[in-house]
Symmetry: C2
Subunit: 242 residues, 2 copies
DNA sequence: AAGTGGTCTAGACCACCAC
DNA sequence: TGGTGGTCTAGACCACTTG
């Protein structure tokens, strides 16, 4: 029985499987959004078991080179979306400008009140009215993020009556004359867990990037707090300061 | 033989193991940098196998709640370091200000020339002289990042003669009168692979955050290009713009 | 209905670290 | 030297998606 065959150099088997697949991706044999052969077939091709094959696939997934779609299989990751959270970019415009197809779905709109956590993040008082908005956004048909948006209901009366399947930034400007100015952004890598994982349609534990953004108007009044849960391989963040 | 026992609710076993351990961490039974029981002992305690136990541990690792150290075991993650890449913060000062103990090791100093990749990132011409610096930085004795720094050798003559186990920012200011101004920052989550994984002392494939920072002086001249490879659970990024 | 990934078992040997 | 995680085998059944 073959165990720990460190024959070809010192690399463990699952990393050699990884290298083979990565090579096919880098050379363009496998192109973005192509489905890989099934785990059982890959295991047979590489003369190993599913467990080891899955180690290799998990490695490539961690590197952002492939992703999985529910129980449908493994796919080659498309290029990362360049995302500049300090700008007022519309998601839709930004995605389109990079030659991709955006889509936004509103999952949920709820009138509620600021809790303690939101109060410290926004400067609101506990109990202040907010509109809580949940959206899912896709690139080329792949869901890449879900977000919770908390809007200052006092500052933006009637906002819950609008269509949110579009750019919120444009809505604020056109209907309320608001230009977002000050922003406080915080982000860190973490795993996506439920309910966000389910909303995106990935397994709990999938690597993600958690981004929060607190925006004010020109006078320093709180407008919007945005909490985004991104797939870790879907974006590249860029920030410029002078 | 017990397989797929979805008895207590619908959660798979490895997620129930995860929840138990996460509860002990959140309740403070297990405190930062505490070692968890060994995988074999955990497997026995939860009445399962090592493979399933490792699934639970990998989940917690992905969430940033625990980390592993070489072959020494699993440990509870300390709080994330708050990091503001747009500021001129010194790593050492920043870590110390958050009540932690910083350490910097210079791995390597090399005089070399800009290649095509570096040229596009910095605005230098291919072949321009640069000083290439590799450093490893620790927090409370845990290595959390390695970095490649490329310094404009023309602009900073003799810089390779200084001690780099300290704040580079202070060195530039005190010895060259340089105040870093313009910055272009780019970052995305990805897995750490060799040689960075080895340098930090983690398994290849460990989740990380890749950060690059291009800094100029007040006149727009290129000073420094910094490429950082962070452990994904070690930091939280904050950016403020007005 | 067939095929996919998701979960799980019950073992094994190896490389490395601390003692 | 003994214990740790790292890697690996050869199977199994389950839940879901797709034709």
């Amino acid at each position: 029985m073959q165990q720990q065959a460190f024959a070809e150099g010192t690399l463990p088997l699952y990393l050699r499987v990884r290298d083979q697949l990565a090579g096919q991706i880098d050379k363009g044999v496998l192109t973005p959004n192509t489905r890989l052969p099934s785990e059982r077939i890959l295991a047979e091709q590489f003369g190993t078991t599913r467990v080891t094959t899955r180690l290799a696939l998990a490695q490539l997934e961690a590197e952002g080179k492939i992703y999985r779609s529910n129980r449908r299989g493994w796919f080659v990751s498309p290029p990362r979306l360049i995302y500049k959270p300090t700008h007022d970019y519309s998601f839709s415009d930004n995605v389109a400008a990079q030659g991709r197809v955006p889509e936004t779905e509103t999952l949920d709109v709820t009138a509620t009140e600021a809790n303690a956590w939101l109060a410290t993040k926004t400067g609101l008082a506990v109990g202040d009215p907010v509109i809580w908005l949940r959206r899912r956004r896709q690139i080329d048909g792949r869901p890449v993020l879900v977000e919770n948006i908390y809007l200052n209901a006092t500052r933006l009366p009637g906002i819950e009556t609008y269509d949110f399947n579009r750019s919120l930034w444009k809505l604020l400007r056109e209907q309320y004359g608001v230009e977002l100015k000050g922003k406080r952004i915080e982000m860190y890598p973490t795993a996506l867990v439920d309910p966000q994982a389910s909303a995106i349609g990935v397994t709990a534990g999938t690597a993600g990037l958690y981004v929060t953004r607190c925006s004010q108007d020109g006078q320093g009044g709180f407008i919007e707090f945005d909490e985004e849960f991104w797939l870790h391989d879907a974006l590249s963040i860029q920030v410029e300061v002078s």
